[in-house]
């Protein structure tokens, strides 16, 4: 906490804003460290559930009670504009909140980056009707925001999307399959892509908000994924069978969805970088505690250079990564274009998280491989970070394109 505040106070927040940041993060820290962390192991063991009969999805026990506490504490409305009942605070504060939540449980922290992206996209590209309807719902947390981008044949290559949208009267009707949806089946808004002009390739894609209340049974969860980590979070496969989307829920102009979503992903990547730092911080703290407790060859293992140098490497990566995500978030808060910087932050921090969690397991020795110890879960959970919201390879593509284009100009 002290580290985050030290960095935040270097930015151009006035005294009142600094006080607000401190108080909000103190409250988030208390909630995360008193309540969320206690459930983290149970959530991992119990996992999210799907009932094939009713097609309903369930978060593990107690998770929604804590989600409700986040609602009561107004956490989801931090970046919602004041006009829509939010507080319009900084993106920097928002990402710091994600780091603290991820320290307690990566699965629980999954509620925040996608909520943020839903809010961002609707705020920037939604019709006035959609803003009026969905921003207060997302801000209060009454609607969970989901992203439905990937398809069986369209992962990193989003332009290969085959879900089609047919316009009839005042609505579009979407048909296709979407995979890897966090919160799919539990969400109140889904942001998605579909083909509106099949002759135009990426320029024939449009972006929509699917409202499950309007789509009804035409949006159906087919299954949920059994994953290596992140067991507490729902990851679904969803089938759309002529799911109705009213024309007010079109985002931006028709056939402009690809450009619009690609630009928006930059901001949620900073949130993933914050998650990576949360996991790393916990892995580091667990390792420090263990290396002071565990004695071998007559002294705590933390006093053997082999281990202390590992701790030094880990602490350095955590600090670098924290500076990187907070600075990128602050750039975004100031309204600068962070498309390349977000990819740098996401790539560098999520790769660092692999190294830090790997060494955390190594420091714990045999115990690190045991399910009884936290680092085992951190290692499994961290693995997804270099994959979702754009793989490390995609980030490198974006970063190198940025670097080359500057030189070629």
């Amino acid at each position: 906490m002290k580290q985050i505040m030290k960095i935040l106070n270097n930015y151009s927040f006035n005294k009142e804003e600094q006080e607000q940041n401190q108080m909000i993060l103190d409250m988030v820290f208390e909630l995360a460290m008193n309540e969320i962390i206690e459930k983290e192991q149970d959530w991992d063991e119990e996992g999210a559930k799907f009932d094939p009969e009713t097609k309903k999805v369930y978060y593990p026990s107690g998770m929604m009670d804590l989600y409700k506490k986040c609602q009561q504490n107004d956490l989801f409305s931090i970046i919602v504009p004041e006009k829509y009942n939010g507080f319009e605070l900084s993106y920097t504060l928002w990402t710091a909140l994600i780091e603290i939540m991820a320290r307690a449980s990566l699965a629980f922290s999954m509620f925040f980056p996608s909520q943020g992206l839903n809010i961002e996209i609707i705020k920037n590209f939604g019709t006035p009707e959609a803003k009026e309807k969905y921003l207060p719902l997302l801000g209060s947390g009454d609607a969970i925001g989901a992203m439905a981008f990937s398809e069986p044949n369209a992962g990193s290559d989003i332009s290969a999307v085959s879900t089609k949208a047919e316009k009839e009267g005042n609505s579009y009707y979407l048909t296709g399959n979407k995979i890897w949806l966090s919160h799919g089946g539990a969400a109140g808004t889904y942001i998605t892509f579909a083909v509106t002009d099949k002759t135009a390739g990426p320029r024939g894609l449009s972006a929509f908000i699917i409202d499950p209340k309007i789509a009804g049974d035409a949006l159906e969860v087919v299954r949920i994924e059994e994953k290596m980590g992140l067991h507490g979070s729902i990851t679904s496969q969803v089938a759309l069978d002529r799911a109705e989307v009213p024309k007010e829920n079109l985002l931006g102009a028709e056939n402009d969805g690809f450009r619009l979503i690609l630009g928006s992903l930059a901001s949620s990547r900073i949130g993933i970088a914050a998650q990576a730092v949360g996991i790393m911080e916990t892995a580091l703290q667990e390792s420090i505690n263990y290396s002071l407790q565990r004695t071998q060859f007559g002294k705590p293992i933390g006093h053997h250079q082999a281990i202390s140098f590992k701790l030094a490497d880990m602490a350095s990566l955590v600090h670098q990564s924290r500076l990187l995500y907070l600075d990128t978030a602050q750039m975004k808060h100031r309204g600068e274009d962070t498309r390349v910087e977000s990819s740098v932050a996401k790539y560098a921090t999520t790769e660092a998280a692999q190294s830090v969690t790997y060494h955390a397991v190594q420091i714990h020795g045999g115990y690190g491989y045991s399910r009884e110890y936290r680092v085992e879960r951190l290692f499994r959970d961290a693995r997804v970070l270099t994959i979702y919201e754009g793989t490390s390879e995609m980030q490198k593509t974006i970063i190198s394109r940025g670097a080359l284009s500057r030189a070629e100009k």
């Binding site: 002290k2 108080m23 103190d26 409250m27």
Partner: protein, 266 residues
């Protein structure tokens, strides 16, 4: 219903321990300070009483240096309607008797109150003396370690923790209560972003002790110093191998050598 809740700034449980810096005023980093966690149960009780009655006002009162600003702001961010800080930067009054006299004088200056609430003890010194002392100075009825409060007209029905159970009591208002960390107020509410925004815009008045007509508040106990206890030189003796009967007699003779009173084992 006007309720005063007395809150204390203590060193944060996550802050590094330093026997030379045991009072909030000794520290220069606000991150090292926290609201005495027991006081949050008192705030919860005050807010619940007012909410259930549908009317009233909760004011947080704190004796502390500017390091305690964080604590009064947190009280507002939990839902208190206002707060007062009594400046304690130069004098650094920490003696319990002196603090109780000052808090009682502050209550007198505020004047309009029906109920004075305290946490059951403090996180740092834990003397649990503030509520009874203040009630004595103000000549008010008191109940300590209260788990449940029911307001009936100008009377209070409370349940307080006693060893092995609870005891019901009736008190005439105005009264002083210390609130237990168990029972109805076990889970104090969090602050919320909305209330934090209000708190950060709320000006908290700062009173000087001189303005309170406290009278003599000289400490009645002299406080010298706090020191870390010396490290123990003695090592543990472990008897783990061999015949149990022999091990027992070895253990007993070792204890005898140390001069321990072994009662029947003599």
């Amino acid at each position: 219903m006007n309720i005063l809740v007395f809150v204390k700034a203590t060193i944060d449980r996550n802050a590094p321990l330093d026997p030379d810096e045991i009072f909030p005023g000794d520290r220069d980093d606000k991150a090292d300070i926290m609201t005495n966690n027991y006081d949050k149960h008192a705030i919860e009780a005050a807010l619940r009483i007012v909410e259930e009655k549908g009317e009233g006002k909760v004011t947080a009162v704190c004796l502390g240096s500017d390091m305690a600003d964080k604590v009064v702001k947190e009280a507002i961010a939990m839902g208190c309607h206002g707060a007062i800080r009594i400046e304690n930067s130069e004098t650094e009054i920490t003696n319990f008797f002196s603090v109780a006299k000052i808090l009682a004088a502050a209550a007198k200056k505020i004047g309009e109150y029906d109920l004075l609430l305290f946490g059951m003890q403090s996180y740092d010194f834990g003397t649990a003396t503030m509520a009874p002392m203040v009630s004595e100075f103000l000549n008010l009825p008191v109940a300590c370690w209260v788990e449940k409060v029911l307001v009936e007209g100008n009377k209070l029905r409370v349940e307080k923790v006693i060893e092995g159970g609870t005891r019901s009591m009736e008190l005439q208002l105005p009264a002083v209560l210390s609130i237990a960390s168990t029972g109805d107020y076990e889970e104090p509410r969090y602050t919320s972003v909305r209330r934090i925004m209000t708190a950060s815009k709320t000006e908290v008045p700062v009173w000087e002790i001189d303005e309170l007509n406290v009278g003599n508040y000289e400490p009645n106990v002299k406080f010298d110093d706090i020191e870390k206890p010396p490290a123990r030189a003695e090592k543990c003796a472990i008897f783990s191998d061999g015949d149990p009967a022999e091990m027992v007699s070895e253990l007993v003779s070792t204890l005898k050598d140390k001069g321990l009173n072994l009662g029947a084992f003599k």
